[in-house]
Amino acid sequence: EAAVTQSPRNKVAVTGGKVTLSCNQTNNHNNMYWYRQDTGHGLRLIHYSYGAGSTEKGDIPDGYKASRPSQENFSLILELATPSQTSVYFCASGDAGGAGAETLYFGSGTRLTVL
């Protein structure tokens, strides 16, 4: 069964440290997304990608970088982690439903705590 897998499931980092969140999809979808979910908020888009080698800024990209080295893999990188980046991060891939009409398939999430 097609799936989106995130690692790690939980991560504790120190302020100023570098954090890499990984996402792998077997859906063969071109589009992939990184969202964060905070209490009282919906999902907010950080970065997204249309395919290998491409990354685009979402609504809250500051403090984050993204990397899409292949169709299957999409990473989110926090070069200098801060406590404000403590959150739950979700990766998703999108099917070929057409621009804006695609169904998203989400990973299980990564709970990141920055101390």
Binding site: N31, Y35, G40, H41, G42, L43, R44, L45, Y48, Y50, G58, F90, A92, G94, G97, G98, A99, G100, A101, E102, T103, L104, Y105, F106, G107, S108, G109
Partner: protein, 113 residues
């Protein structure tokens, strides 16, 4: 600009009652509209979407939603509700100009047995 509003942060009802979760959107062109559900401790799962055509769309788990252009709404419905429907529900908006999808803040639904 575009936005999604879910005015009810929490909804509580009894098992067997009818549920309706409200969603309104703001977008100047034809929207694509979605509902996703997040069960406790789990990730988000797709329920249904409206792209074009019939204004009542049916999804998984017995849910349906009605698109009403007149008041920019896309409310989620199910009857009867079951205790296992307790979860957080997210309405989302897509645009035909790009692949970005915008989520509302969600409605936490509690169905009491």
């Amino acid at each position: 600009a575009q936005s999604v509003d879910q005015p009810d942060a929490h909804v509580t009802l009894s098992e067997g009652a009818s549920l309706e979760l409200r969603c309104s959107y703001s977008y100047s062109a034809a929207p694509y509209l979605f509902w996703y559900v997040q069960y406790p401790g789990q990730s988000l799962q797709f329920l249904l979407k409206y792209i074009t055509g019939d204004t009542v769309v049916k999804g998984t788990k017995g849910f349906e939603a009605e698109f009403r252009k007149s008041n920019s709404s896309f409310n989620l419905k199910k009857s009867p509700a079951h205790w296992s429907d307790s979860a957080k529900y997210f309405c989302a908006l897509g645009r035909n100009s790009n692949n970005r999808i915008f989520f509302g803040d969600g409605t936490q639904l509690v169905v009491k047995p």
